[in-house]
């Protein structure tokens, strides 16, 4: 497989860091904001920070929703990061209900406001947190988490989380205030990480590298 990767630009913040993380491994990066560029991609990255509704609106404005959905059905690798991960699901409850890309069944819901003991939780969840297998560690083989150790720390910053309907689509979670929070989802050629691999030091770079090898 080649080392080409296409990052979708829909005006959602820091593309440069994602680009630099891929370039760290010698990837040929294309920044794309058109249907045809997405069609031509070998691997696609949907980055993103900010609000769900606004993100979908920006994709809509650029007429990229069908393009991404079409790309995904052809079996080529797609990585969603943070908001980009959440947009893979069907809908979100952030600032009203908004439809997502619907590539993985499930919803995006607010993080719990209280921890396990009922004390108020700091929201957004910002910082380093350890990822744990949702089922077994062997599920991580041949995914972007291959080589990741149980409990290895990644950088999270979010107020909402993915809730896949089918539990087998969950690959990893972390604990926040003692409660499980969705960290990585996976369905065939689709991967979504709630954390920022491009901001998670060497652990995150490994995730980038594994995706590039997929």
């Amino acid at each position: 497989m080649n080392n080409k990767v296409t990052i979708i630009d829909y005006g959602a913040g820091n593309l440069l860091s994602v680009r630099r993380a891929f370039e760290h491994f010698g990837a040929q990066v294309t920044i794309a904001d058109t249907h045809s560029a997405i069609d031509a991609a070998d691997r696609l990255v949907l980055p993103g920070v900010g609000a769900f509704g606004k993100g979908m609106e920006q994709l809509q404005k650029r007429r990229l929703i069908w393009a991404i959905q079409g790309f995904a059905t052809l079996g080529r690798p797609l990585l969603g990061i943070c908001l980009g991960m959440q947009m893979l699901l069907e809908e979100s409850e952030e600032f009203g209900t908004h439809a997502g890309l619907g590539l993985i069944p499930g919803r995006v819901v607010a993080l719990p406001k209280q921890d396990k003991e009922g004390k108020p939780l700091c929201i957004p969840h910002i910082g380093w947190n350890g990822v744990l297998p949702l089922h077994t560690l062997s599920d991580w083989q041949k995914t972007a988490l291959e080589g990741t150790k149980e409990g290895e720390n990644f950088y999270f910053v979010h107020s909402f989380q993915a809730q896949p309907t089918d539990p087998t689509h969950g690959l990893a979670h972390c604990l926040y205030g003692g409660l499980p929070v969705c960290a990585v989802i996976h369905r065939d050629n689709l991967t979504g990480c709630q954390f920022h691999p491009e901001k998670s030091g060497k652990s995150g770079l490994r995730v980038i590298q594994k995706f590039l090898q997929s």
């Binding site: 913040g13 820091n14 440069l16 630099r20 760290h24 700091c122 720390n153 901001k199 030091g201 060497k202």
Partner: protein, 261 residues
């Protein structure tokens, strides 16, 4: 307990890393990019660049530095100093910053906090507060212009207002303690963390590892920024992490990462 973040604060007068005492009397220390790379290799959790001369519109500006740093540093990067508008924030983010820290412009026009949060999300809107203890010990007042100009705003009330307006984090610098290395203003930090549900970054005054532990344990702060103790090698990150873990403070698991890489 959630994982506490250690942040390297680099005060920049482009193209130099500088450090002063109580935000004054600056000394040049070298190339900030090299320092940032060094801290990244040692496992710092985040980098904070503070442009102390607000050079955004100068030829040699802070954003060139940000852009350079993102080539080698893969942890979150915050940039502050001189950002006044949503367009300025957009430029900072395009240059590779993940968050912006804003003080003066937010004091002058608090709606800017909401505008930035709406455009780019709360997670990138850090409100920077420079706090000085009132002479009658009744609390703390917020300052701007590197701790020179009083705002008339009470620090705790202003922090609460900033959070309500959409700030994702508060960077709380004690001007009284900054650069002295004699410990943080724990009472100040505690007064703010008690009132807020968003993360607070304590800054100013760390001289020894115990100062870091004190503010975490007594003021329940989510992140601690360090400057001269790192620049002069008075605190080594590996040692800080190990001792924090021994005290039961949850920190990023850096050892495992080293082994894994």
């Amino acid at each position: 307990m959630n994982t506490v973040r250690f942040i390297a604060r680099l005060d920049v007068k482009a193209p130099y890393l500088v450090k002063g005492v109580q935000l004054e009397g600056l000394r040049q220390l070298g190339d900030p990019h090299r320092f940032a790379c060094d801290y990244y290799e040692q496992g710092i959790d985040e980098i904070l660049y503070m442009d102390i001369v607000a050079s955004l519109y100068d030829r040699s500006n802070i954003l060139d530095l940000v852009e350079k740093t993102t080539q080698n540093v893969f942890v979150p990067l915050t940039v502050g100093g001189g950002l006044r508008t949503v367009a300025d924030v957009a430029r900072a983010l395009q240059s590779g910053a993940d968050k912006v820290a804003i003080n003066t412009a937010a004091i002058k026009r608090p709606e800017l906090i909401t505008e930035v949060a709406n455009h780019f999300g709360s997670q990138c809107m850090v409100v920077s507060i420079e706090a000085k203890r009132n002479t009658d010990s009744t609390g703390w007042q917020a300052y701007y212009d590197n701790g020179r100009e009083p705002t008339g705003k009470d620090v705790v009330a202003w922090a609460k207002q900033a959070a309500d307006l959409g700030a994702g984090e508060i960077l709380l610098t004690s001007v009284d303690r900054e650069g002295l290395g004699k410990g943080m203003d724990v009472a100040l930090v505690a007064a703010v963390t008690e009132q807020l549900s968003i993360p607070v970054i304590a800054s100013g005054g760390v001289g020894r590892v115990e100062d870091v532990f004190t503010v975490i344990e007594q003021a329940h702060v989510q992140a601690v920024a360090m400057a001269h103790v790192l620049h002069y090698g008075k605190i080594e990150l590996e040692n800080l992490r190990r001792r924090a873990k021994e005290r039961g403070i949850s920190v990023r698991q850096w050892q495992e990462i080293n082994e894994a890489s």
